[in-house]
């Protein structure tokens, strides 16, 4: 893991060194909007509403998708990939380092926004004492957000491995995510009608669905990460 974190350290340093909205200013802007402005505008419900959990579990995936396309396509475009591959680092260290960097970035930004919102709302907008996120909401956010982030990171790495440019990788990743979203929404709509009221009205069923869903996401993550590892071949990356 030491090697993977060395790669991740490099990714973070590069991210912070980026100019414009991709770098520090983008981070500050994101935290200002999602950590201060929107929570203050919304008020305590930003913290207490269960919708927050659903909304925020998508944010890590979105944030990962903004940086992961650069993982290998960016190195290729900036002519640093071959030198990186010529180091002593193992395939796994390079691959996981890239994923750790993207997931860590998304996690830090999400956590940062949530903490800032908690502070901002309680300082300015809470009329009835201090409000906290619901533990169950936080847990669901963390688990689903993490699993989703791993999934998008692995898909992003897979695409970035073969893309000639960052732009191409971003376009392919965007298209893939939209296609997956359409698939999930269509799948949900195709659920038998008699299941739907049960899900809404029955808490144990909701938990069962959540657990089955998370289990499926774990399996999906394992499959996509394994595929990314299979596709990571130094020989092909150099020869392509």
């Amino acid at each position: 893991m030491t090697d993977a974190f060395a790669v991740a350290w490099k990714e973070w340093r590069e991210l912070l060194g980026q100019r414009g909205f991709g770098g520090k200013s983008g981070i500050v802007l994101f935290l200002a909007v999602f950590g201060i402005a929107l929570p203050l505008q919304t008020g305590p419900s930003w913290i207490t509403s269960p919708i927050v959990g659903i909304a925020w579990s998508w944010v890590p995936m979105f944030l990962v998708s903004t940086v992961i396309a650069d993982a290998f396509a960016g190195e290729r475009e900036r002519h640093t990939l071959e030198t990186l591959l010529a180091t002593r680092l193992s395939d796994e260290a390079i691959l996981f380092g890239k994923m750790v960097a993207a997931i860590g970035y998304a996690g830090a930004m999400t956590a940062g926004s949530l903490v800032l919102a908690e502070v901002a709302v309680n300082l300015v907008k809470s009329p009835s004492g201090i409000v906290f996120y619901q533990p169950a909401t936080l847990l669901a956010m963390a688990v689903v957000g993490f699993l989703g982030a791993v999934f998008v990171a692995a898909i992003g790495v897979l695409i970035s491995l073969r893309a000639a440019t960052v732009r191409q990788a971003q376009q392919a990743l965007g298209g893939t995510i939209i296609a997956l979203l359409v698939l999930v929404v269509t799948g949900a709509r195709l659920l038998p009608v008699e299941w739907k009221p049960n899900v809404a009205a029955n808490a144990p069923t909701v938990w069962l669905f959540a657990i089955v869903g998370m289990g499926a996401l774990v399996l999906l993550d394992i499959a996509v990460v394994a595929l990314a590892m299979l596709r990571f071949k130094r020989d092909r990356l150099i020869a392509d």
């Binding site: 030491t2 090697d3 060395a6 350290w9 490099k10 340093r13 590069e14 060194g17 980026q18 900036r78 002519h79 640093t80 071959e82 030198t83 990186l84 591959l85 010529a86 180091t87 002593r88 680092l89 193992s90 130094r234 020989d235 150099i238 020869a239």
Partner: protein, 310 residues
């Protein structure tokens, strides 16, 4: 017995139908600078990629520092450093951060990384700019930093792929001098590819000439020059044409002939053949201004070798 730095046997690599490296058998002892010479597209970069285990050979075998490139590529990369076709520096990072990063990759402790960064950047006279982002640096400075990066973890073997390519003559000479100093002080084996023959002649203890993937000759530069380039003359004049050059190349007394734009350089099978060659040239309309015997150089040997191959 310590194995040589590099040992290859019938090493070949195909890209589709293109044979980038063709049946190369070579042995490079440790502790020297080896020059791998050849024109663009001759297979020099492919050779480095194969030796680093970044590409797999199509046929044949290669051992680097006693490790097989197919089965122990990770061990080879552990003990090697590389400056490849592109300098591969992270342009959003500073010079010190670039070196520090590679120290982290080789799991060097933080205090040692700082000391090594200072040592190398001081040696390269770049220390006062170590906190600058390298994006704004000149190509020469980047190449020097990339060499420092390749040597950072004190490897046993360093691959340098045309380190002076694209540099102006002053920067190239400075880099060459520093490279010689560094390789001596670090006691490292250097595998250097270049098409700059003066560079190879000055730096290398052993050189191999490659063309179209085939290794044409291996030996100390002086020996290659003596074997191939001892009987050459430089004929300055005006009015040289392509047919004239073709005629001279098939002359009985001529080993090889080429032009550097100003003069005609003719390698001779026999020094006594000079008058016949001059007479043939004058007869064909070439206006000879001067004729000068040139001492055998690696450049003559190189061109002679390339011309002998189909």
């Amino acid at each position: 017995m310590t194995p040589p730095a590099v040992r290859t046997a019938n090493l070949s690599r195909m890209f589709g139908v293109v044979r980038a490296l063709d049946d190369v058998t070579l042995e490079i002892p440790r502790g020297i600078i080896f020059g791998f010479l050849g024109p663009n597209g001759s297979g020099k970069t492919t050779m480095i990629r194969l030796l680093l285990g970044l590409l797999e050979p199509t046929t044949g075998t290669a051992e680097v520092l006693g490790c097989d490139t197919r089965s122990a590529a990770a061990a080879i990369r552990q003990q090697s450093g590389a400056l490849l076709e592109h300098c591969g520096l992270y342009e959003r990072l500073s010079a010190a951060e670039n070196l520090d990063l590679y120290g982290r990759f080789w799991r060097i402790r933080a205090a040692e990384r700082r000391a090594r960064t200072k040592e190398l950047l001081t040696l390269l006279e770049l220390h006062d700019r170590c906190h600058e982002v390298v994006a704004g640096w000149s190509r020469g400075m980047k190449q020097q930093l990339a060499i420092a990066r390749a040597l950072f973890h004190r490897p046993s073997l360093v691959f340098l792929d045309e380190p002076t390519a694209g540099l102006d003559p002053v920067a190239a000479v400075a880099l060459r001098d520093r490279l010689a100093r560094l390789s001596e002080s670090e006691g490292v084996t250097v595998f250097l590819t270049t098409h700059n023959l003066a560079e190879a002649e000055r730096l290398c203890a052993l050189a191999g000439v490659v063309r179209k993937g085939r290794l044409l000759a291996v030996g100390p530069p002086a020996q290659l020059a003596a074997a191939r380039g001892e009987t050459s003359v430089e004929i300055a004049g005006t009015g040289l044409t392509g047919p004239m050059l073709a005629m001279i190349r098939i002359h009985a007394a001529v080993q090889s002939a080429r032009t550097d734009g100003r003069s005609l350089i003719v390698g001779l099978k026999d020094p006594a053949g000079v008058p016949q060659v001059i007479a043939a040239l004058v007869g064909a309309g070439y206006q000879v201004e001067s004729v000068r015997n040139t001492a055998g150089s690696l450049e003559d040997a190189f061109h002679s070798l390339l011309e002998l191959q189909p």
